[in-house]
């Protein structure tokens, strides 16, 4: 597990870190607030040979590059009811009408690979990261629908995620944010052909539409602006709990004392709900100011590396501090008694045992999905990135 990489902290340091993170408010080693992210540098469109690309560099020196490439692929025909219907129906008009309805995609239209230096590509940690990122992309089925060209052809999207630096911290948030930006900047050539004929594309790259169409951001008050469904690619956040505190974007050292850690994938959509269907644009604008319509896509427990940290030895059972003086046989006896009795001495680090309480798990998810909370801030910040 990538999260289980060795942290070079002594039991005393771990105990100190744990107690300072359990204070209210918690004191993090780098002075951040519980919901604050590490500063990062982001840019898009850095790779000219791709359909979309992005690079993010965290302040701690971890850096990732994502390239998205698309290829036209023939859709595997299956003997479904639909195919039979298409062959039987000769009416062109009817077919075109059903086009929008039958736009479906399959999960193997997206191929995602993760490369982390120092890890084999068949390592289970890499497989876990790749599965988590692709699971979020596929969960709502919105992305694969966009890859549909016509009944015979579709786009196949290759997402190659490369961590350039050594994994100094658990790379999940970095990789997820980079993938998000790369997908936002992805453009596919404009389709010129019609219907089910072999696809033929416009060679003008400037006319290529974005994979995730955006709203007219210049003047949000302009009523004439066509409002496209601004669904955004998902992001995956790492949230961890220490005692009663919930911390976002933990660094490697913080993760080493976590009681529980979760990876939560969310996406945002401004698709109108039933309640604001009848209202005009103004109410939508108000809504956007308040917060987005977040959708929960996936949650995974990340095995915190704190379970693998070395335990401390209390003075009362330490042979160097006079326990041995009581008698030759009693030193070992005392140690085993402590080990079995599991007395928790304050300031002596013990790796957490057991799982996380149900309430803690619920609080982690609740905090991540809060309206106007961290996720909104992250989405706002990512919107500020210029798409080249």
């Amino acid at each position: 597990m990538a999260s289980a990489q060795h942290v070079l902290l002594s039991p005393a340091e771990l105990a100190y870190l744990h107690s300072s993170l359990s204070l209210t408010p918690p004191i993090r080693p780098d002075g951040r607030t519980p919901t604050q992210f590490r500063p990062l540098v982001a840019e898009t469109g850095i790779l000219p040979g791709t359909n979309g690309s992005a690079r993010i560099c965290f302040a701690d020196g971890t850096e990732a590059i994502v390239g998205v490439k698309a290829e036209v692929e023939k859709t595997r025909s299956r003997h479904d009811d639909e195919t039979v219907f298409v062959e039987g129906a000769g009416d062109d008009g009817e077919e075109e009408e059903t086009d929008d309805i039958t736009r479906t995609g399959e999960s193997d239209w997206i191929e995602l690979t993760v490369e982390i230096p120092g890890l084999r590509d068949d390592d289970s940690a890499t497989a876990f990261l790749a599965a988590m990122l692709s699971e979020a992309l596929l969960a709502d089925g919105g992305l694969v629908k966009r890859l549909w060209i016509n009944r015979r052809f579709h786009w196949k999207l290759y997402l190659d995620i490369i961590l350039i630096s050594p994994p100094l911290s658990y790379p999940l948030p970095l990789l997820s944010l980079t993938t998000h930006l790369a997908l936002l900047s992805t453009r596919l050539p404009r389709l010129k052909s019609e219907g089910d004929e072999d696809p033929f594309f416009d060679d003008d790259w400037a006319a290529a539409p974005y994979l995730y169409p955006r709203q007219q951001t210049a003047t949000p008050t302009a009523k004439s602006a066509p409002r496209s469904p601004a669904t955004r690619p998902p992001i995956t956040l790492l949230v961890m709990a220490v005692a009663n505190n919930i911390l976002f974007d933990p660094s490697k050292e913080e993760l080493a004392v976590a009681d529980a850690a979760l990876a939560v994938s969310v996406t945002s959509s401004t698709r109108s709900d039933e309640n604001d269907d009848g209202d005009g644009d103004d109410s939508m604008d108000v809504k956007e100011k308040k917060g987005r319509n977040l959708r929960l896509l996936s949650i995974r427990t990340v095995d915190p590396p704190s379970r693998l940290t070395p335990p401390g030895v209390a003075n009362s059972s330490n042979a160097a501090y006079g326990v041995a003086g009581n008698g030759n046989g009693k030193a070992t006896e005392g140690r085993t008694a402590v080990a079995e009795g599991e007395a928790v001495v304050e300031g002596v680090w013990r790796a957490p045992r057991g799982g996380a309480k149900r309430a803690v798990m619920a609080a982690l998810v609740q905090k991540a999905l809060e309206r106007g909370g961290v996720v909104d801030e992250v989405f706002d910040a990512l919107e500020g990135v210029e798409l080249g």
Binding site: M1, K74, S77, R78, H79, D80, E106, S107, D108, D122, S124, A125, A127, F128, A130, A131, E135, L138, A139, D140, G141, L262, V266, N293, L294, R295, L296, L297, S298, I299, R300, T301, V302, D303, R307, L308, T309, P310, P311, A339, A351, R353, G354, G355, A356, K357, R358, M361, A362, V365, Q366, L369, R371
Partner: protein, 287 residues
């Protein structure tokens, strides 16, 4: 690499036409969940099936009683705790390694002999679920291998057109893996804080009904439901009331957090049911 020296067949596989049969039509119509929404399927659990391993268990979950629907059959063996090889660095805890492997014939699509990313992913989930349960600091400098082979995956052989089914099947497989591995760990005599068991709950939508509100079912079989909106798999320690692994997948509006909470609750309920079987099996072995 293509072989250019010989005359090869076409690259793309051709699919023979399938003619609809009235018999299969009827069978498809029967497929509906017959259990109440909060009941899991019956399961059979036995420990100590592999004499050479230090602990082992076998789990079988019943079929739905219809032809063509196979149940889940899992076999788990635990090797260790044994000393780590000399080359490995010092570890103050027991080093846990989990392997989950589908047998090549376990699913509709044949699996290879090498573990694919899905199986590795399952192994990581299982490791997270078990690591919370075992008391690892009692065995420093030692390692334990947990090997699970899925002899029969829980897949409907008739429905090949549902491609999305596979990802929901993984949840059921994982919950079975957690339960069987927990039994095998107990059989091996490795100290645990509690017996951990897996449970699955899903949010399903039936298109046949006119009521549009989705409902939550426990231990879902994907082929029995028209559409699964979301599912979660929970590994739960009943006496400590703690969750060691939580895996949620689906598409749920963040405004409907009660639905999510209810799903986790149902998953815990399913896990409690499985745990009862586990406890009964373990007491039977002792008595």
């Amino acid at each position: 690499m293509t072989d250019r020296r010989r005359i090869n067949g076409p690259v793309g596989a051709t699919i023979p036409p399938v003619f609809e049969d009235t018999l299969t039509q009827e069978l498809k119509a029967v497929k509906k969940r017959s259990r109440p929404p909060n009941a899991i399927r019956k399961m059979y659990l036995k420990t100590g099936v592999t004499p050479s391993a230090s602990g082992s268990a076998y789990l079988e979950i019943e079929t739905t009683g219809k032809p063509g629907v196979s149940g889940l059959k899992l076999s788990c063996s635990v090797h260790g705790p044994r000393s780590l090889p000399r080359s490995s660095p010092f570890s103050p805890h027991m080093v846990l390694s989990t392997h989950v492997k589908y047998a090549p014939f376990a699913t509709n699509k044949r699996r290879g002999y090498l573990r694919d990313p899905i199986e590795r992913d399952l192994g990581t989930h299982l490791e997270a679920a078990l690591r919370g349960a075992i008391i690892a600091d009692r065995w420093p400098k030692s390692g334990v291998d947990i090997i699970i082979s899925i002899v029969e995956g829980d897949q409907d052989r008739e429905t090949s057109k549902f491609q999305g089914d596979e990802m929901w099947d993984m949840m059921n497989a994982l919950s079975g893996c957690i339960t069987v591995a927990s039994a095998a760990l107990a059989d091996a005599g490795i100290d645990c804080v509690d017996t951990v068991a897996g449970g699955v709950a899903a949010l399903v939508q039936e298109s046949g009904d006119d009521s549009t509100s989705p409902n939550i079912v426990v231990d879902p079989i994907p082929s029995e439901h028209d559409k699964i909106l979301a599912a979660c798999c929970v590994a739960y320690l009943p006496t400590r009331d703690e969750i060691t692994n939580l895996w949620f997948k689906g598409d749920l509006p963040a405004s409907e957090m009660e639905l999510y909470t209810k799903m986790v609750e149902k998953g815990i309920q399913a896990s409690r049911h499985a745990n009862r079987v586990l406890i009964e099996c373990l007491t039977e072995t002792i008595g």
